[in-house]
Symmetry: C2
Subunit: 364 residues, 2 copies
């Protein structure tokens, strides 16, 4: 046995001093393990990192010593010294980690990062640009290997210096302004088109459209998809059947009432967002029209299948959004020189009943 066994070791000293088992003891280091196993520190490193070229005998001794001491490799120290300087950590910045949509994105990121043993830091931006900057800096200080960002509406030129410093970045759900990079988006236009097409296929021609805040790019895209489908089918887009820039359940409810009272009366609705679907459904139920007038909504809604009829929707796939973003990020980390890509994630038309109501025989 080498004299290593006699070397100074915090752990061995603690043990020898006879402290009870319940006493908190300091985390053992490789040195402690080496001392207990009677080998050099480097041999412990080799065993712990599964490097080849260590005899079975020593492997066993090291393993046993490590187990006995509850040794855990210190990844921060390991990463510091490692040649590639990687921390096996990425950062995820979204508007709110508690929002189910972003939580699903988070889960998708984890789906990809987890099997690679990459840790995920996450934080909420709250649509606050200062906070975004501070958090990007905090992540940079922790030397994350890359960042997935769902950017706020503000200017993002400040990210250039980080990206130039070699911090890979992928944008998800929204495009940033003032900077280019990998981008993962839901294909809003295409799926709004599909939803509208679905209603047209049931014979509807007078389709009411409810759209959200005009400031949002997604709202614009969804309106365009609606228009695309209507034009394709030679269906008229009547201004009296279009209500845009709605910002609440209440506004949507009122708008629906208005469209229902108008002429011609819509035989179907395409509601381009969560809250707007809720408002329209309320109005339809209030007038007992829910079984006569078709409705397809954008965004899935929990409880959609408790209603009668159950609500047909275009369900986005935020988890997939996260998965694709993570895949792009790891590709970029592996090769920083690839061209920035834009990737679209498909949504799903979920037919539950409300979207499959045909035009009533009596309808115009």
């Amino acid at each position: 046995m080498s004299r290593g066994f006699l070397r100074y070791s915090r752990f061995v000293m603690t043990t020898l001093s006879g402290l009870s088992g319940m006493e908190p003891r300091p985390r053992p280091t490789m040195r402690d393990v080496a001392a207990l196993a009677g080998v050099s520190l480097k041999t412990v490193s080799r065993v712990v990192n599964r490097e080849p070229g260590v005899s079975g005998d020593l492997q066993g001794r090291v393993r046993r010593a490590a187990q006995q001491l509850d040794f855990r490799l210190n990844l921060t120290a390991s990463n510091l010294r490692r040649a590639d300087q990687r921390t096996a950590t990425i950062g995820l910045l979204v508007e709110d980690v508690g929002n189910p949509f972003f939580a699903a994105i988070h889960r998708g990121v984890e789906d990809i990062a987890g099997p690679l043993d990459v840790g995920v830091f996450s934080a909420s931006l709250e649509e606050d640009q200062d906070r975004e900057r501070r958090l990007i800096q905090a992540f940079a200080a922790r030397r994350v290997d890359g960042i997935i960002l769902s950017p706020t509406g503000a200017e993002h030129g400040y990210l250039l210096s980080e990206m130039r410093a070699g911090l890979p970045m992928v944008f998800v759900d929204r495009a940033p302004r003032g900077v280019e990079g990998d981008l993962v988006l839901t294909n809003n236009r295409e799926h709004a088109r599909a939803a509208t097409h679905h209603l047209l296929a049931s014979g509807h021609r007078h389709i009411g459209f409810l759209g959200g805040t005009l400031a949002l790019q997604t709202a614009e895209e969804r309106y365009r998809g609606f228009v695309d489908a209507m034009l394709e089918a030679d269906a008229p887009i009547l201004p009296s059947l279009v209500a845009r820039d709605l910002r609440s359940v209440h506004q949507a409810e009122a708008a629906t009432e208005l469209l229902l009272a108008g002429e011609p009366r819509p035989t179907a609705f395409f509601t381009a967002q969560n809250l707007l679907s809720t408002g329209a459904i309320r109005a339809l139920h209030a007038h007992q029209l829910q079984h006569d007038i078709a409705l397809v909504g954008f965004d899935d809604v929990e409880f959609a299948d408790v209603l009668s009829p159950a609500v047909s929707v275009i369900a986005q796939d935020p988890r997939r959004l996260g998965q694709v973003a993570a895949e792009l990020l790891f590709a970029r980390i592996a090769d920083p020189d690839i061209e920035p890509q834009v990737s679209f994630v498909n949504s799903q038309l979920v037919q539950r009943g409300s979207g499959e109501i045909p035009v009533r025989s009596g309808s115009r």
Copy 2:
């Protein structure tokens, strides 16, 4: 100016070699900043860490140099050397970060950790005990300062060695088995009692109870709360009005049908979980009884207010759960010797209509 300025510096060499501004350049270190500012490394450290005792002149020089180089303190290196060995990082382990309930907990944790500049690692357990063990080890390897865990149903004795090694741990939403520690729970029993009491206060005596999987402690607690309230009010607990161990919307729907067909017929329902509320509501709607029979559910449900009547619920406060867990964790990190505490988080009775339906005049 000291000769430090002439010392080797990766950054300075790169710059001098005339590479273009868009070329990725390595992250500058304190040494690079020191060289550019013409001071010692230690002075840079002092300025960056806002330690007192640096002259205004040098502070300015260092600040400017750091800014010019886009210097970011390397926290991993900093933490490695620091005396307290803290990483300013905690780990959060829950069943699924994408589940809105746990996402809200996550957000609560971030509410507390964020202002302290503590990073949050999170990961999903998927009710898989092996995965839980691996993730705990991975977090230990990253030297998180503490862990917040919503434990799986399995045995948790294996955590003792980690806790003894000084890894602070707080349990949230569920109690672990085989180990003691700080614990944050929703007061299921108390709030089930309150829900039942609310129905009793409207004059209901024949209250149907729908309960979830018996294996879960929470289901048991909620049943007890129901019983507590009934006993207090001297209301009869009729076996024919109690259905427990329900595991799906469908089962709940069927159970509701059964209770409705029985004698006496319930004039109100307390449905002790999300999915069970959905099933009961479906059955009530199918029989057009939704306006005649009262219902209070445990757990909030999105879209609960689209229905007519809107659904009254006991809404848990998962975000608060996360906040309290984080508060306990930081308290324990600060002082590992405090006694383990159990903390209860209150839920809220949200009155939306369904729970406020009185006993019908014709009802028995």
